[in-house]
């Protein structure tokens, strides 16, 4: 290190010690941290991420700036993150399907092992939904109806389509599957009864309270605490699920002490009322805290399972 560089570093350190106040001088972070959101502003990931940034900011003693890098269901953000400096100053908050699913069907420039999964803070809420005005309500009723009548289904990803195709084949349904381009396109099709049932990644939270949309089954591994009476597809006897976590993800190679700080901040956030209120109250995602060990396993387990479903 040249003397000038040393001077700059030293003064930056001194400055941070003054600014950060209660935080010990040599503790990470020494400057503002960037949280990347792989979706456009306004979606559920963005809403949760912005509150999380505020909470983590209180814990870390440095500003946590939110940057939206939308594109290809977060694949753009993950590509950029894989190439980022592994110093912890840039981390991502978001779902894991861009890792457990996207690389299987698309040629992306990153892989699961390019990242570390420090903590999960919320559980994904993938579900199968239908309109309250349809002659069926539960998943069993849908199947029963489908044995007699041709049916239509609105998909959002190749993964949920693959699962429904398997189920339809097993049950002998005559099913036409249409794309929707996302939750915003799904809702009018379901509510206008243009399709019989559909996949929902979380959009249903807007329409179930009014009773217009009903959830037939959850695609997650466990039932949702917000809809305790709705079974999962697994419970109904189909061996498929779409598991997804909202997690804090960093590029491989971040120093241990920095990772520890981020994990502490995440655990702190998982108990913070502001984060819980927004995540559970506004977006209907249950807040959890899964540590790195669990998450590394989870991501790899779901990836293997997804590869099996998609292998055709």
């Amino acid at each position: 290190m040249t003397s000038r560089k040393y001077l700059v570093a030293a003064s930056a350190l001194a400055l941070s010690a003054v600014v950060a106040g209660p935080v010990v001088a040599d503790e990470w972070p020494e400057r503002p941290v960037t949280m990347v959101i792989g979706f456009a502003p306004g979606g559920s990931t963005d809403i949760q991420g912005r509150v999380l940034a505020n909470v983590m900011e209180d814990y870390l003693g440095q500003p946590v700036n939110v940057v939206n890098e939308p594109g290809a269901g977060s694949a753009v953000a993950f590509t950029n993150l894989a190439n980022a400096e592994p110093d912890g100053y840039r981390f991502l908050f978001g779902g894991t399907t861009a890792l457990t699913f996207t690389p299987i069907i698309t040629d992306v420039e990153y892989e699961i092992d390019d990242f570390e999964y420090l903590a999960a803070l919320a559980l994904g809420q993938n579900a199968l939904v239908t309109s309250a005005e349809q002659p069926f309500e539960t998943f069993d009723e849908i199947i029963e109806y489908g044995r007699e009548n041709p049916m239509t289904y609105a998909q959002q990803t190749a993964l949920d389509q693959a699962i429904i195709e398997r189920v339809a084949e097993a049950e002998g349904l005559d099913l036409a599957i249409v794309p929707t381009g996302g939750g915003g396109g799904m809702a009018p099709l379901v509510l206008g009864q243009e399709v019989d049932f559909a996949y929902s990644g979380g959009t249903h939270a807007q329409y179930t309270p009014t009773g217009e949309m009903v959830i037939a089954a959850f695609l997650s591994a466990e039932r949702s605490p917000f809809y305790p009476d709705v079974p999962t597809l697994m419970e109904l006897g189909y061996d498929y699920s779409i598991e997804d976590w909202r997690a804090i993800i960093v590029p491989q190679g971040v120093p241990e002490d920095v990772k520890d700080r981020l994990m502490e901040a995440a655990e702190f956030a998982s108990q913070d009322e502001r984060f819980i209120e927004t995540t559970e109250g506004n977006t209907f995602f249950p807040v959890v805290y899964y540590d790195q060990e669990q998450m590394e396993d989870n991501v790899r387990r779901v990836r293997a399972a997804t590869e099996e479903v998609m292998a055709d």
Partner: protein, 503 residues
């Protein structure tokens, strides 16, 4: 209508930051409108990146205020310079400039302003009372109806914007091609991305819009600089007697009402821009006048007719936008992009899901009209000065905003390269008379058209008879065929284009 929601929506609009956003939009729009050569869509294209850090309400109010401001501002240069700030005010200069030369510049400006504001407020009111029931009906529109309407809009725009429907279709086809880039929305497989992750969500709208609309226009303008001599603006001085009087107001009032009607009608149809509205209104005013020989020599009715229609188009173009999510023109298409950036899907569900936001936007539009009146009335002198800013100052500033806006999008150097490529494309299209408007609208509606068409085909299982139970879809399919045949015939007969669309 739930009045508690309306009440809180109005309350939200009257917050200081919302008011500030609207006023800022109107003010900026006014300035851009006054500068010759900078049009409404240029203004919106440049301004969308500025709204990234605003709340959705402020962002949308800001953009709508901006488009209203440009419509009013363009009258200033039309009247004082005989160089309309944009094509839709060209009809204004026919009578506005003679009025200004004969020593009545202030009267002309005030007539233009009042016509703009009244046309604007009336059309906004119509929007509010039409869009709300319309959105309820529009819920019945399924993929069949949407696909048919989008196809109709595409053919209509292709035929009207350039005059030559085959050139129009060529431009449209290029837009369709570029609109299919990105991940296929059913299989998730990439199309035409050439391995670039950045293209997986398609060509970035901001790059395409800023490139073909704003940056390429700067190339065109700089080229013009070499040939054009300077035009002198009519000076605005304090003459006694040069102000709007009650008899003049009474004389122009029926014209304003007619202009508003024409503008609203034209604006609500997809594909017809404000230029069609203002020319049509001007023609009708002339025909209805008892002294048609005065037109073109400084008749205040001429200014009033053109300006009221020009401004009425803007709120009216939002009727199909808020009702169906279909853009009526480029500015409305850019607004869809702006909504998307703020995580809002425009369409019939907007009224149901976010009524407060929609009512706030409506309230914001009325507030914007009032700001327009205040700014225009008291700021006439200041805005008149802006007509004197030379293009060699304006052009570099606009180019800076184009590049900076693109960088804000977060695409980095890749985004800049795409931006410049589209600027070159836009320049060539303008040069060889291929409609960039058709290109851009086609680019924006292609993903929607593709999705709805695909849904229709899959849901009907390829059975044409489904359409017999869908009279609205059938009607629009018939209209599409009819429009294509009529427009093609017109082109083959080498007739003059119906109208130039500048928006």
């Amino acid at each position: 209508m739930d009045f508690s929601i309306v009440g809180s929506a109005i309350g939200e609009t009257l917050q200081f930051d919302a008011l500030f956003g609207i006023a800022g939009g109107v003010f900026l729009g006014y300035i851009i409108g006054v500068i010759p050569g900078l049009s409404r869509s240029v203004a919106i294209a440049i301004a969308i990146p500025m709204t990234f850090y605003m709340s959705p309400l402020i962002a949308i109010s800001f953009l709508i205020g901006l488009s209203k401001g440009t419509a009013a501002g363009s009258a200033v240069s039309a009247i004082l310079l005989n160089a309309p700030g944009e094509a839709s005010s060209a009809a204004t200069s026919l009578d506005g400039y003679p009025m200004a030369k004969s020593g009545k510049p202030r009267t002309a400006l005030q007539v233009g302003l009042l016509a703009s504001v009244i046309g604007d407020i009336l059309a906004t009111t119509i929007l509010i009372f039409v869009a709300i029931p319309f959105a309820r009906v529009a819920l019945l529109f399924g993929p069949y109806e949407m696909a048919a309407i989008l196809a109709f809009a595409l053919v209509f725009i292709a035929g009207l914007s350039g005059g030559d429907i085959f050139k129009g279709l060529a431009a449209g086809a290029l837009g369709v091609l570029l609109g299919t880039i990105g991940l296929d929305n059913q299989t998730g497989l990439p199309r035409l991305t050439f391995g670039y992750t950045q293209l997986m969500d398609g060509m970035p709208l901001i790059a395409v819009a800023i490139g073909t609309l704003a940056l390429s226009e700067m190339f065109v303008q700089s080229e013009k600089l070499r040939y054009e001599r300077e035009t002198m603006a009519v000076k605005l001085e304090n003459h006694k007697g040069d102000r709007i009087t009650f008899p003049i107001l009474r004389k122009i009032f029926p014209t304003i009402l007619r202009g508003t009607g024409v503008g609203t009608f034209v604006g609500a149809l997809p594909g017809l821009g404000p230029s069609v509205g203002s020319w049509m209104s001007y023609g009708m005013a002339k025909r209805a006048s008892r002294t048609p020989e005065q037109f073109g020599k400084g008749a205040p009715e001429g200014v009033a007719a053109s300006e009221s229609a020009d401004n009425a188009v803007i709120p009216a173009a939002l009727i199909p936008l808020f009702g169906l999510g279909i853009p009526g023109n480029v500015s409305a298409a850019l607004l869809i992009g702006a909504f998307a950036i703020h995580g809002i899907t425009v369409g019939p569900l907007l009224l149901r899901d976010e009524p407060e936001l929609l009512y706030s936007i409506f309230a914001g539009m009325i507030v914007a009209s009032i700001f327009m009146l205040i700014l225009g009335w008291f700021g006439l002198m200041v805005f008149a000065q802006i007509t004197r800013v030379p293009p060699h100052v304006v052009i570099p500033i606009v180019i800076f905003f184009c590049l900076a806006g693109m960088l804000l999008q977060g695409y980095g150097a890749f985004g800049l390269i795409i931006l410049i490529a589209f600027a070159a494309l836009g320049y060539l299209m303008k040069k060889y008379d291929y409609s960039f408007v058709t290109f851009l609208v086609a680019f924006i509606i292609t993903p929607m058209l593709e999705l709805n068409l695909r849904q229709s085909i899959i849901l009907s299982r390829g059975n044409w008879e489904v359409l017999l139970g869908r009279p609205i879809a059938l009607f629009f399919i018939a209209c599409t065929l009819l429009a294509f045949i009529i427009l093609a015939k017109r082109t083959i007969e080498r007739k003059k284009p119906i109208a130039e669309i500048g928006d």
